[in-house]
Subunit: 320 residues, 2 copies
Amino acid sequence: MKAIEIIQKELKLVDFPIPEPGPGEVLIKVKATAINRADLMQKNGLYPPPPGASQIMGLECSGVIEKIGSNVSLRREGEEVCALLSGGGYAEYVTCPEEQVIPVPKGLDWISSASIPEVYATCWLNLFMEANLKAGEKVVFHAGASGIGTAGIQLCSNFGCESFVTAGSQEKIDFCTNLGASGGSIRGGKIFDDIDEWSPDGVNIILDPVGGKYLEDNLKVLALEGRLVIIGLMGGAKADLNLGHLMIKRQKIIGSTIRARSIAAKGFVMKELENKVWPLFDKGHLKPIIHAVFDLEETEKAHQLIEENKNIGKVVLKVG
Amino acid sequence: MKAIEIIQKELKLVDFPIPEPGPGEVLIKVKATAINRADLMQKNGLYPPPPGASQIMGLECSGVIEKIGSNVSLRREGEEVCALLSGGGYAEYVTCPEEQVIPVPKGLDWISSASIPEVYATCWLNLFMEANLKAGEKVVFHAGASGIGTAGIQLCSNFGCESFVTAGSQEKIDFCTNLGASGGSIRGGKIFDDIDEWSPDGVNIILDPVGGKYLEDNLKVLALEGRLVIIGLMGGAKADLNLGHLMIKRQKIIGSTIRARSIAAKGFVMKELENKVWPLFDKGHLKPIIHAVFDLEETEKAHQLIEENKNIGKVVLKVG
């Protein structure tokens, strides 16, 4: 099969053997895959795949189940599915534990179906499971026009919550408010003053891919019993923390990644998506936000687009 | 009525009017009250009572309900009760929302009953509700011989968890291990190396009254998906935080206090204690740990004992 290999930080389409599904795994003939920031880090040697994962990049895909391994009970050959992968998506075939695979939402094409597993799993896990988001609460998404941001805004609207974004341009802010965000602020300006003005009593949850640079200000605009979920370190890892503020405000700082979690944990999230989120795609209440589609051999170009922060929503790779 | 007043940082027994129970409140004739570190801070002007709370110190008591206010439905006159107070316990009478009052455990005397509300509410709230402690997990208590530590050790044993303590002397460590802790380490020594040796895969929860000074080491000995609950700042509020570590380990830092929480929140904790913890006192599976008992007029002496870190468990004040 054809797949993308990282050769001295360059991306080449080369031949690989088709992988064999092990016990509890399925083999998926990939129709489309999508790009995540973790892939860019992996390309640059900064994010080695977890033990046992494919060396090939790609954390999500859509496709058809071509073959099932032994002890597979949830899935069957021929099913049209989405998958949350621990790697291997930039390829014509990929294997994956059956728990991480669910049917595609009704009426969504391969491109759309490939764009949703990672961002919706990340948002569901962090907003609803880790941070225990409840109807009526207020959420801030830094990098609001990202795949995660655009998924998060829509989840908030659908579950009775308000959201506010920070992003790199007015165009991105406008896109987010059209999508359902109550407001936004341009990075480089007084974003925390604007958050404070949007919600003078503080916000309940912040989903933050920035980290160190924002920590102190994030905690300041967080409400009593607010939750700050750190999902990235684009602004560095080191920060000064005032535990007195954290205690008096009864706040939580939650560190979170999804990739290295157990199969059972990922399976639980996917089951939640199937039951609670996929029906919202079926009804048209949620829509995939796709910035651009490239062929697999154009992966380098697709990465560059994300590297330059030009995208609103996801960048997808069409396979085969 | 007689009550303790702070007059220029000295404690005097003086006359106060008996308070009137408002709507939803009960008036308790206090039989005993107990000392908490927050009282020492309040005495020194470092911990002003929350809005609406009594200016008199004292966060817990045992006693008899003397009178009920309007709209009281859960409690009745003459009941023998324990209460979690937002202040006012160092007195012959105190008023309190009925939600924060539950019957004394069977067979416990007034002294014992006064020693348990605050430490068991704190442990239940932070271990089970905030940090979601589950059977089989491992917990570290810094200041393990304190009221909170000695309550926490016993809760761990009763709910299928192991615990490890740090404390100021071998005598305190021995007391804790006799009470059910699996091990301990003397403060000033290599406590974090000892924790690491006790649980090489990390510990699941740390209940920490120290704060800044311990933060980095606490996170190092915390397991994957571990929870650090900050309940005090005896080692300062400021700390350096490495968010990369927090993310990779998927850890949580939780700031927590109980005093300023809503009546409903405190009521929920007390209901949990009544249903899940008080029966363990009834059966003799839990025992109050009382270091010393003083008369109300000796409050100054009682405070000094705690200030000097000499106590193992609670220091109680007998009233009337």
